[in-house]
Each structure stands twice: as structure tokens, then as C-alpha cells.
């Protein structure tokens, strides 16, 4: 009997010691996590690009949407030019014409490459791979040059080539830089990332992935759940 009581006491004390140790370990892990969250930035999302295939109908819808937007943006962004130089007679005369423009560097080296880069990033945001995004940006800018801008001036060789090509080169730089900044997790990085790549702000951006960290304190296991919503 004494032996039984001794064994029972030994076992319970061992278990309670283990329980205390476990509680201590849990508490220290919680403290560690708490401390860690104070010294590190917790990211809620992961930003990137998810390339996928698209149906011809979906691609057509994107091209049509962007084409409609150019009809709105052109007169709104350059009201004086459209008012002073634009006419339907000009439209008829310029239709099908292709020239070398004498535009100032502001247009050819700044406005057009930036427009092209944002077109490229729009298509990237919609899940197109880089080659497809470049091709679609080229189609969109060609449609703009030959059917919208001719209201004021004929299509130009520089714009046709440079808008999608320099746009894609600049677009890749902006894509990488913005992803880097967005994934830093800090406010400044996020603001700058969205500023460089505004398409990441809109509903159509497909690369925003929710990060859900899970920590099981009993099993001492951690997991990171990734969830993408479209």
C-alpha cells in the first residue's frame, strides 16, 4: 500500500512538473511571439503576379475596355490640344497616315513610355504573362494611335514602337520595384508600391494573396496559409 501511494505520488508529481514545464514553455513561446511581433512587421498580404490563361472573349473584353477608356482619357488629359487642334476633318485626313513626329522629349521619353508601362501593368494585373501583356499593350496603343489620337494629329512611328516597347521595359522595372516595396510590409513601402504600380490598387489585380499565419501552441507547430481571391 505504501508502495502504491509512493508510486502514485511520484507519478502525479512528475505529471504536474511536466504540466508546469509545458505551461512555462507555452508562456515563453507566447512571449517570444509577442516580442517578435513588436520588433518585426507582420504582413497581411503577399503581392505578386499569377500568370494564367485567358479566353479570347475575356481578352477581347479587356481590349475593348481599355479602348473605351482611351476615348475618355485623351480629351480629359489634353483638353486644350483636343479643343484647339481636334476636328473630324482632321480625323478623316489623318486616318491611315503615319509620320515621324517632332514632339518634344517630354512626350516621347516621358509620357508615352509611362503610358505604355501602365498599360503593360494593367494586363499583368489581370493575369497575363509578360509576353501577352506586351502584345496586348501594343494592340491597345496601336488602336489609340490609329483611331483616337488622329482626331488631333497623325499616328507616329515613335509612338507606335516606343509606347509598348519602352513601356514594357519600364513596366518590368516598375513591376519589380513595386512588388519589392509592397512586400516590405511598411506603410511607406505600400504607398510607394501602389504609386509606382496603381493597378495593384484595383479590384482586377489578381496577385494579392492573404497570408494567414497559424500557430498551434500545443503541438508547437506553425503554418502559413496562402489564399488568393479573384
Amino acid at each position: 500500500m505504501k508502495l502504491f501511494i509512493f508510486i502514485y505520488f511520484l507519478l502525479t508529481s512528475t505529471f504536474s512538473y511536466a504540466e508546469e514545464n509545458k505551461n512555462d514553455a507555452d508562456q515563453s513561446l507566447e512571449k517570444k511571439l509577442e516580442q517578435q511581433s513588436k520588433i518585426t512587421r507582420e504582413r497581411k498580404y503577399s503581392w505578386g503576379y499569377i500568370d494564367r490563361s485567358h479566353s479570347a472573349r475575356e481578352t477581347g473584353r479587356h481590349l475593348l475596355g481599355i479602348y473605351g477608356v482611351t476615348w475618355l482619357v485623351y480629351p480629359l488629359s489634353q483638353p486644350d490640344v483636343v479643343k484647339d487642334r481636334g476636328s473630324w476633318d482632321n480625323y478623316k485626313n489623318n486616318f491611315g497616315k503615319l509620320v515621324f513626329d517632332r514632339d518634344e522629349p517630354f512626350w516621347n521619353w516621358f509620357v508615352h513610355p509611362i503610358s505604355g508601362s501602365q498599360l503593360f501593368l494593367y494586363y499583368r494585373a489581370n493575369g497575363y504573362d509578360r509576353t501577352s501583356a506586351f502584345a496586348l499593350a501594343a494592340i491597345s496603343s496601336t488602336l489609340f494611335e490609329f483611331t483616337v489620337e488622329i482626331y488631333t494629329e497623325p499616328a507616329s512611328v515613335q509612338d507606335l514602337y516606343q509606347t509598348p516597347t519602352l513601356g514594357a521595359v519600364l513596366g518590368i522595372a516598375l513591376e519589380n520595384m513595386s512588388m519589392y516595396l509592397l512586400n516590405t510590409g511598411n506603410l511607406f513601402g505600400r504607398v510607394m508600391g501602389h504609386f509606382l504600380n496603381p493597378s495593384t490598387l484595383f479590384w482586377f489585380y489578381e496577385g494579392k494573396v492573404i497570408l494567414t499565419p497559424e500557430v498551434d501552441l500545443n503541438k508547437k507547430k506553425g503554418a502559413l496559409t496562402l489564399r488568393a481571391t479573384f
Binding site: F100, F134, V157, Y161, I172
Partner: protein
């Protein structure tokens, strides 16, 4: 038998990616010897140097590649002489050169120069625009430093280069290229550059042979995607 077939096919791997569209870009250094109407009579040439970049949108089969290419560079030159609006214009100038053209390239896959670097050559027509801006132009006319001359030229490209042949373009193969180009001007416009946003063409005239030159360029770049 299958192993033998694979063994025969394996060397084809080093021929690089094929049947794919690629966008390439790189940096360039250029130099040129140009003749204007004025110095042609005196039998002299003006030389220019400049730096810039090149871009190519290229579709590659196996050995053949068709590229829409552009070479852009900026530079300066001393003591240039031109004729515009019936007046002689002379002075030190900064210039901008933009060339476009389709280039058909052929890569010699049976001749690796070093490791997986293979030589290629190509040629094609070129369309270009040279913009010349003078700091203090000497002229008996009304041309001034707030105006610029733009020459539209036509000519041709001849390229010789080396490019890495890799299985996938995602490995970003590198190319080094030498370009020779000859150009002749077709027309000249005098443009008012007072306003950096508004484009105001003051005059345009035909200038066949007024400006011609040999342009040389060394370029290095990579396949971006």
C-alpha cells in the same frame, strides 16, 4: 532505340529557345562621321559620339530571327554646319538620334565562338530622325538657340553580333552587337522648342543628300522576357 533518339535530339538543346517572341534591351555607344551640304564641298566630315540604348521586339525561329529594332542615342558635336530656311547655320550642337527598322538576323548555330556564344548577322532598312540643337548658332538668318533642326533620314542597318544560346529565354541570354548604318536625309524641319510640351513646326523642306553619314554602334543587352 528511344535512348538513341534522345541522344540525337540532345545536341539540339544548345540551339537555344525557338519559336518564341522576345523583348530585348541594352545600352549602346555610338560614333558617326557625317557630311553636310556645306562640308561636303570642302571634302571634310564631322564626327559625333554618343550613348544611348537599344530595344528589339524579336520573333525567333531556330536560326532565323525577325526583329523590329530601335537604336536611340544622345551626343554632342563641335562646329557643325547646316543649311535651313535658305541660311547657313554653324555651331556646337547636342543631338538626338532615333532609328527604327525591321532586321532579319541569322544565327550560325554550328559555330560556337565561346561556350554557348554563337555569331549572328543581320540586315534591314532603317528610318531615323536626327534632332540637332545648337547652343549658340552662328547664322545670317533668324535661326536661334530656341529652335532645333530635325532631319528625317532613310538608310540601312548591318549588324554583326554574338548571342548566348540558351534553352529558355527566361535565362535572359546576353548579346553583344556591332552595328553599321548608312543614312541619307530626306527632309528637314525647323521646330520651335520654346515650349517643352507644345510642338510647333516652323518649316519643312526637302533635303536630299543634305545630311548623310556612316553610323557605328557597339551595343550590349539582354533578353528581358
Amino acid at each position: 532505340m528511344i535512348k538513341l533518339f534522345i541522344l540525337i535530339l540532345l545536341p539540339l538543346q544548345c540551339f537555344g529557345y525557338s519559336n518564341d517572341l522576345a523583348v530585348k534591351s541594352g545600352l549602346s555607344y555610338s560614333w558617326a562621321n557625317i557630311k553636310t551640304l556645306q562640308n561636303r564641298n570642302e571634302g571634310r566630315e564631322d564626327s559625333m559620339t554618343g550613348a544611348g540604348f537599344n530595344t528589339h521586339v524579336a520573333y525567333k525561329w531556330t536560326s532565323w530571327e525577325f526583329a523590329l529594332s530601335s537604336y536611340i542615342f544622345w551626343g554632342d558635336a563641335d562646329g557643325l554646319r547646316f543649311r535651313a530656311q535658305g541660311n547657313d547655320i554653324e555651331g556646337d550642337a547636342t543631338y538626338r538620334h532615333v532609328s527604327f527598322g525591321p532586321i532579319l538576323r541569322y544565327t550560325i548555330l554550328s559555330l560556337p565562338v565561346y561556350k554557348n556564344w554563337h555569331p549572328y548577322f543581320g540586315l534591314g532598312p532603317s528610318w531615323s530622325l536626327q534632332t540637332i540643337k545648337m547652343d549658340e548658332p552662328q547664322t545670317n538668318g533668324t535661326f536661334n538657340s530656341r529652335q532645333k533642326l530635325t532631319y528625317e533620314s532613310r538608310g540601312g542597318f548591318l549588324v554583326l553580333g554574338l548571342e548566348e544560346q540558351v534553352d529558355f529565354k527566361e535565362y535572359h541570354p546576353v548579346y553583344i552587337e556591332f552595328l553599321y548604318s548608312y543614312k541619307k536625309s530626306r527632309n528637314l524641319s525647323v521646330v520651335d522648342s520654346n515650349d517643352p510640351i507644345e510642338t510647333n513646326i516652323l518649316s519643312t523642306e526637302e533635303t536630299k543628300q543634305d545630311l548623310s553619314g556612316h553610323f557605328y554602334m557597339i551595343s550590349i543587352g539582354i533578353t528581358l522576357f
